[in-house]
Symmetry: C2
Subunit: 255 residues, 2 copies
């Protein structure tokens, strides 16, 4: 039943270029991996808070936007649902996920579990070039914040954690962190406090400085504190939160 073939250790078969088909329509050039492109675009839009939680993602709509078939969109949406960026309701469609408070807490707990020791593992393994690059990134974050560019600020802020993970040179860990960061963006979009625009002053800079030579224990503490700080800046408090919200909505506007 099972054809246990000998493991093929030949060269990778990704070298074929198929540019035979002349595109009569404005279809984007990169045919292969179109699903990947859709996936990344939506992730990015969600991370930058341009697609708010609850937004419906109709298959036909997206297919028309990207100039691809529905099947491709389905693939991308399925992928997004596996990473908890969107929620699929059978026979109803795909919606940008609305993580529950419990899930939000779980995501941040996972980050507190993974990222502090991850950052600590970088101590003494970063050259001056890497530290320089990190400082530049932090500088860009500050610039975006000063320029009131909320979108860019949010993106860079999340990207900082992904870059740290990449510096570990462990793709497995990087993928995990990338997923957690994306979900965090969704959570922040959903639960951020109204007033406080951006609650993270410059803890990233502090962390980079500490990575210069402080002991691992200090790094762990800073990262843990930072993540707790971000989580504490959200409205994840009460189970009674729903009632209050409803009443506020009803009182504010009689729809």
């Amino acid at each position: 039943m099972l054809n246990a073939s000998t493991p093929s250790r030949r060269r990778k078969p990704g070298a074929s270029r198929r540019t035979r088909r002349i595109d009569t329509r404005p279809a984007p050039p990169s045919r292969p991996e179109a699903a990947q492109r859709i996936y990344e675009n939506i992730v990015r839009a969600v991370e930058e808070h341009r697609l708010p939680p609850g937004t419906k993602l109709g298959e036909q709509t997206i297919a028309a936007l990207f100039g691809v078939s529905r099947a491709r969109v389905r693939q991308a949406l399925h992928h997004l649902s596996l990473t908890h960026i969107v929620t699929l309701h059978p026979n109803r469609g795909a919606f940008v996920a609305e993580p529950s408070i419990r899930e939000a807490r779980a995501v941040f707990a996972a980050r507190r579990l993974v990222e502090p020791p991850l950052a600590a593992s970088l101590v003494g393994r970063l050259g001056s070039a890497e530290l320089q690059s990190l400082r530049r990134h932090v500088g860009a974050e500050e610039a975006a914040r000063s320029a009131q560019d909320r979108r860019e600020s949010i993106r860079l802020s999340g990207e900082f954690h992904v870059i740290l993970a990449e510096l570990s040179a462990n793709t497995v860990v990087t993928d995990i962190v990338r997923g957690l960061v994306a979900r965090s963006s969704l959570i922040i979009a959903l639960y951020q406090r109204a007033g406080s625009a951006d609650c993270a002053p410059d803890e990233h800079g502090e962390l980079v400085d500490a990575l210069g030579g402080r002991p691992a224990r200090v790094i762990v503490r800073i990262m843990d504190h930072h993540l707790r700080h971000v989580e504490a800046s959200l409205r994840l408090a009460a189970p009674a939160h729903a009632e209050v919200d409803l009443r506020a909505v009803l009182g504010a506007d009689a729809r």
Copy 2:
């Protein structure tokens, strides 16, 4: 530019915030989530080393086996490729993944990053019922090992780590660990030493005992040691037989 406008409108303002899911139907188990069933079956087969790395997974073959259409199988295979259980070669098909040595190391490094602090977080949070359950599981592991039931032994051994993660009551962390354990099974199937049938004497039992009341620091050490032990029992040393060797030979000859 790329995604000019939000492709969809927001959810209606007056709509209920809670998802009103109608689950009144007993849901015939075969129809909905058929792809999920295929996915889990293949994962399990891989975890139990019944599907060796490199095995070709033809769409038509699997579709016939499960009595479903090819589309369903494609979905499952795509899911499997996202979790790095299978590798998709364009126009060639799906194969059970053959993790490289580098990837194998990365997976175990990720586990050493996540699981020790995860286990430590359970200290003092487990009731006697949970500890009892864990001990029963370890007993089952030993029984399977004594009975030479390699398949069951492997499955239970991996499941132990998943159960530990589940006890954290954090579904995010549980999913991460589940993925890492599955990939580890693949790695073990590929790189286990010929002679040593099972190199983990009873470190799980030791860990459960320690979870009874030992301090977190001890738990961390035991789990870290256990994971290092498992990794050390594999042949991850050298360029063994892999592509590096081949490529070197070819490069030397061709020129």
